[in-house]
Amino acid sequence: MGNVVLQMKHITKRYPGVVALNDVSVEFEKGQVHALLGENGAGKSTLIKVLSGAVENDEGRICIDGKEYEKMTPLLSRTHGVEVIYQEYNLIGSLTVAENICLGSKMHGLSNKKEMIAVTRALFDQYQIAINPKSYVRDLSPAQQQLVEISKAISKDAKIIVMDEPTAQLTMSEVQKLYEIIRNLKKKNVTIIYISHRLEELFEITDCVTIMRDGCYVTTVKTGETDRDKLIALMVGRELTNTYPDRDCMKNEVVLEVKDISGYRNDRVSFQLHKGEILGLSGLVGAGRTELARVIFGADKKLGGSVYIYGKETNIKSPQDAIKAGIGLIPEDRKEQGCFLNMTIEWNIAISNIRNLTVNRLVSKKRIQESAEDFQKKLNIKTPSIKQRVGNLSGGNQQKVVLAKVLATNSDIIIFDEPTRGIDIGARHEIYTLMTELVENGKSIIMISSDMEELLGMSDRIIVLSEGRVTGEVQKEDFSQETVLSLASNE
């Protein structure tokens, strides 16, 4: 046990009405990758915030490097080498990579660009990161930004690095890159606290897993001595049988046919969607999946090709046209494109369907409320009131509101773009069940997903895109990670 670098002892944090952390004690060992696992709201983030000094604990002590503290402050935590990489990046887009990495490490004197670039380059070489230190952060992909963020933490001689959902935005190959960096860090005796909803990652990279539930510490297990089902059971506190609901897909009528569609990121894509089918759309990030969906939906410009709905050629020029034609889109970025965070839940659900919720052509508050209450029940949106602002809801419930908004228009074809990104396992299961119900009721779904497990589990058929083109179609019988991946990387 001489290896313990950080101890959180009996940490309790109360907020008005809720106990966010209830007597949580965890130990972290040097050079280990230690996962924190739990549903949204289990208290992982609060624990991390206590460690980084962003939140003050009410009770308990933190023992770091053999020194014991009642509370951390941001400065104190920094001086002990704790670096947190949050889900929302803290990089400055208008500065270069080198400037971002050296930000804060040099507070005095004139900034020396050459030196910054040299420092950054040395760091990147060491971890084999191929990013130009001189490029501007805003021009980088999310994955590259993630790497910069990690490099920034490393450059500060971090002894403990906390990664909050580091892979949420990464593609398979980039995830591998991240693993490599993590292994490298491990060799240098850096402790990594790893938060992720993706279970398969934990088995790949972590040494032990601490499970939290409802603000309480549940247990810590060695990753090698457990399995997926046990972890889920510990996390949820009940057995989740059958993550992906079973169903029979009857392939008959073609609902949507896309012929030679081209957009600014797509080149002559063709496919068919059957009634009652979930069609998976796979590919690496940048393969043009979201862009394809947006072209079909009329959100981006179509440069060529045609769309047939129930065999009839349909000219979709705007999202309005698409909704009229019976297509719904649940966008990838829920906060930016999906909901109106400042508005109430009922308002959000009604907005797409408002023309049908009028009395004498005037908006009817009563009908809006009824429709929203209906969806709240159907989708199990957890909120004290549908008059709550959507910004106050958790990610899973926000996603349900977006779903309700799209379902309210009663579309036959629904495109789900990353339907469960950043959503905890319970809510995820509910969304899967809902998707199943939808197809059983004769709707058809196109699902874009970077989560391989979800893609293989939910789809009836998978179409793989690479560099904007269809590189293959996989039938349910032939589903395997390898097939899909090799098509996606177009090897």
Partner: protein, 330 residues
Amino acid sequence: MNDGNTKNDKIKAILKSNVMLIILLLLLIVFGIMSKNFLTFKNLMNICTQNAYFIIASIGVAMIMISGGTDLSVGQIISVVGVCVAIFMQRAGLPIPIAILLGLILGGVLGCFNGFAANLLKIHPMIVTLATMTMFQGISYTISGSQSFFNFADSYKNIGQGYVGPVSVPVIVAIIIAIMIHFVLEMTCFGRFVYATGGNGEAARLAGINTKRIRVIVFALGGILFAISAVILTSRGGSANSTIGPGTEFDAITACVLGGVSFIGGEGKVKGVVIGCLILGVLSNGMQLIGLGIYVQYIVKGIILMLSIGYDTYQKQAKVKKVTSAKAAA
């Protein structure tokens, strides 16, 4: 005990959501105590009449701001319309109603132009209207030839100077417009779409709203409101020239912000805007009555603006903090 608490909470909540109304009432009381001429029906009606044009223009700006834009060309639109209506009547000899109607159409067209330009160039309306503001100024002076127009017909002057019973015509017009726009924003689909467009433009578009069209319509409606306020302004003053109007834009934005219209869009109510306008109006009038010079008035106005908006923002942040901490906890 518990009941008392919730009652207190309720009162607190009501107070908090009506901060600006309370400030307005406080101002009325303070000025009422300091000057015995202030709290008279005549003076209060005078304040309302003086500010009727301003309320109408501010409502137009508010609508544009709710949709996610801003309009800096308000004053210049007023100027162009004021001058043109005068020319329509005096040089072209058109009947007054037609001249006014043409003026309203002109306002709408200028507004449309702002909206189209913002859509087409994909630039924030603030920058677009910064450019059109200069353009419209040039247009106004070119048309007027830097001349002033006087001697309007009495029936025109009546619009700005007339009374129906004890209430002045401009006030009646302002009330009608406030009610209409409130109704449009709250009760129609279009109103919802305006809030949606301002709240999250991309989400609104993906929800099937033609956000470009909404933007143009909002600017056009705004233009018409500015034209109405130009008519009231020139008929009340009995003269029109190119310097009448400019300057309104910043006062209008000030009133909107005071009244709780979000600068980023998606939030705001007509009621708030009217209160914002009245606060500014009461301040000017009150300070004049107690004998403060115009420059002191500017200083006081600035301080009040900073304090009230600062307080409002502080409150909102406190709310956000509470929410986020509760969320972190949940």
